[in-house]
Symmetry: C2
Subunit: 142 residues, 2 copies
Amino acid sequence: MEQRISLTTLGVRDIAASASFYEALGWRRAETPEGIVAFDLIGQTLALYPLDRLAEDIGLAPSTLGTGAVTLAYNCRERDEVAEVLNAASAAGGEILRPASDVFWGGHVGYFRTPDGHIWEVTHNPLAPLSPEGAFRWNGYG
Amino acid sequence: MEQRISLTTLGVRDIAASASFYEALGWRRAETPEGIVAFDLIGQTLALYPLDRLAEDIGLAPSTLGTGAVTLAYNCRERDEVAEVLNAASAAGGEILRPASDVFWGGHVGYFRTPDGHIWEVTHNPLAPLSPEGAFRWNGYG
């Protein structure tokens, strides 16, 4: 198994509402069939899919699927961008769980929850600069 | 907000056991401080982090965090690879939730659950060929 993720799929209760949240943040959808929403990222894709259909595809009851023990992190190029992204998420209908603040390892971090319950971390990590196109790796692009 | 995810973090109860699962699949860890495990992917990173510490960082009770309404998909280059990857996941201690089988849109799909409860989809999608390095986008490369 090669070291990659192709698609991260978020099971959501109201796919139109969830799609609107990301579109309000300026993201553009890929062309997809009815009933699924996809946003192409760097080397992978984020998909939105109805929670009950996701559960059916996997073969589990929807009530056994939770949200939140996965966080999706958006790393910023500059420290002040963290608060800006949190503000944009709030304006788009997200809930700020933790405002931008410094953390022990030298970063600047906040969290927001999307209207469908998924949790995003917004971070500036001065130890791991992004690539020019915005790609991330653990020990940074130099 | 640019269109990307930097880090996908899985909150897990036993980080050593979770790390062993991915290492048994052949993945190599990035150099990290004690207490966190990271696997660099294509343009982003998958991290493992203790569930209680993740909850504390976000400011939520660990009991409010579930798993499973996010799936991580691994797309294969060939149809027969789907069963091979599911077999590797099973050998590494994963639970097969759905064996490899054809789906209505022309793909070949299975699901497994990792020992820490996170759900992976394994897919061959003939409509969306991968890039030579294995990157995915919704309508394919090439």
